[in-house]
Symmetry: C2
Subunit: 358 residues, 2 copies
Amino acid sequence: MALTIKDIAKKCGVGVSTVSRALNNHPDINKETREKILKAVEEDGFIPNNSARNLKRTDSKTVAIIVKDIDNPFFATMMRVMEEEIHQEHYTFFIQHVGDKQNEVDAALELVKEKRLRGLIFLGGYFQGQEERLGRIKVPFVVSTAELPDIPDKETCSFITIDNEQESFYMVEHLCKKGHKKIAILAAAKDDCNIGRMRLEGYKRALAEYKIPLHKTLIRHLDKNHAEYSMENGYQLMKELLKEGTTFTAVYAISDLMAIGALRALHEAGRKVPEECAVAGFDGLSYTAYYIPSVTTVVQPVEEMAKESVKSLFQMIESKKGVPGKILPARLAERQSTLGTGPNASGPVPVYNSEVKR
Amino acid sequence: MALTIKDIAKKCGVGVSTVSRALNNHPDINKETREKILKAVEEDGFIPNNSARNLKRTDSKTVAIIVKDIDNPFFATMMRVMEEEIHQEHYTFFIQHVGDKQNEVDAALELVKEKRLRGLIFLGGYFQGQEERLGRIKVPFVVSTAELPDIPDKETCSFITIDNEQESFYMVEHLCKKGHKKIAILAAAKDDCNIGRMRLEGYKRALAEYKIPLHKTLIRHLDKNHAEYSMENGYQLMKELLKEGTTFTAVYAISDLMAIGALRALHEAGRKVPEECAVAGFDGLSYTAYYIPSVTTVVQPVEEMAKESVKSLFQMIESKKGVPGKILPARLAERQSTLGTGPNASGPVPVYNSEVKR
């Protein structure tokens, strides 16, 4: 059984506020009383620190992060940054992983009931069509790296994301400007209605704007039963495309992990990157800067997204009012995998990569 | 406020056990009563599923994973596997991340008090000298990927790890057998007393066994203020070694991430791998199979370690008895980064890599 502040107060023959002062290192307390309380606490194995207040459970200062894809290195970095920010607010937090077959909103509803949370951050996930149940989440929440539909019955919710369609457009435009006309895309599953679809839309719009006809054979979709944006899946899609013998001079993968898989498949087929084929990714994983060749990618503002997510959440916890969603800009990092490629290229491919030398 | 089973029972004018039967879909209940209870539950927004039982908080079936380094892709895979295993036991779980400056045992003691857990898994961390406080953790726990010292006052604790010294020995032996005599090691900080030290000891023992003198300049330690086994740190150590101009024909990094950083630094210096230098890592991250060249490494049995950790934990929860620690074998995966290197090499370096074609 956990000790409550009341138990300690009773044991030491003092008031609850005195125990609270002792636990919080408040100067306004008799030294002997303080020592007596800390000794009592020590004997029962209770650790007096920031989370002491949590013992009085209705005052628990805890938030949770609900993460859909814990394997994703992109999310790992975000969780680390979020942790730092949440600790600065003197809150405790924990991470709840939601499996493939679980619904993230169900998980949230349960958590709020069980753990008496002050707020939630969804890291990834899919929210279209779940408006009614999202409205039943009693605490403020922020959706991070995805957009949130309008929720009629809920004010204290917000989101932080990038413009996936527009950033994808910029990447494909980058390839078009180099003169590439046969640009393959390694895309999400055909029925995807999430960021995968938006990145594909950006690809289509860029080709249209540069008057490049759309080749259906160059649009490679993930299998809907194995729809992870993984190295393995990028590798397999690339293998299939190579096997078919369709001509292409550039490959755009909608995730960095898929781009790395594609690079490996091209290497095994003896196709030199960037000399014989340009490759571009999306996300800005740190691996892409260390790969050989280093990979051109859309760098998502990971730190800023994590910080803004926490900031919006605490704004809502404190003000009990909604905060507008934010769309942050990403950055195109041109690296070796597209350098000097295409008919409009000039000069040799440099080996050095300023991205690594931070 | 969360509804308790009592509240629902009162509202419906039935006993607590009847509510429990309704929530658990038990056949032994009147259909109308069941519908009445589920309707009451629905009206108050309570989700009737596996975790319904958790409402009666003393019966909460929850375990926690305390993870020291959430950025580590090795741990991410383990968490995913652990999640699957824990759900099979019909337990809920959450992940608690412990920051660089936090102590993992303190975090555990707090969690157990606050959350009424049934058990804990430590993923990584450092436990020497913390025996007394570890003994105060009231629930069973398993230390995963590290060894646990003897804890006099605690029976229900266990560990799962590999033999870091021996596996490291095998990797360096692999390089020695190829005839390499100048083998640099990218090692942990000088004052490390954890797996970093054990991997270094394996290196030293292999050199001694193969009668290769130890060159101090070839032992490169991480800075103790930036001691993460990261790509960035591997890159920096390699840069420094290259700058000094010391001769070496092989580099052994004590982590795959450091090996990838080193490979990038060698590439930028124009040193061809494996032709002019062999490179080996440790851990078996999936990236190593996709890197160009693919990286020879010690593959830790990630899935098995995760499964065994959960198994040992539930054995202890059920039997209330201790379970002996387990040391599992790892596997040396020879890939392109060491193939055909050293004076004893024969034949050309193959491009294909069977590791990827799973």
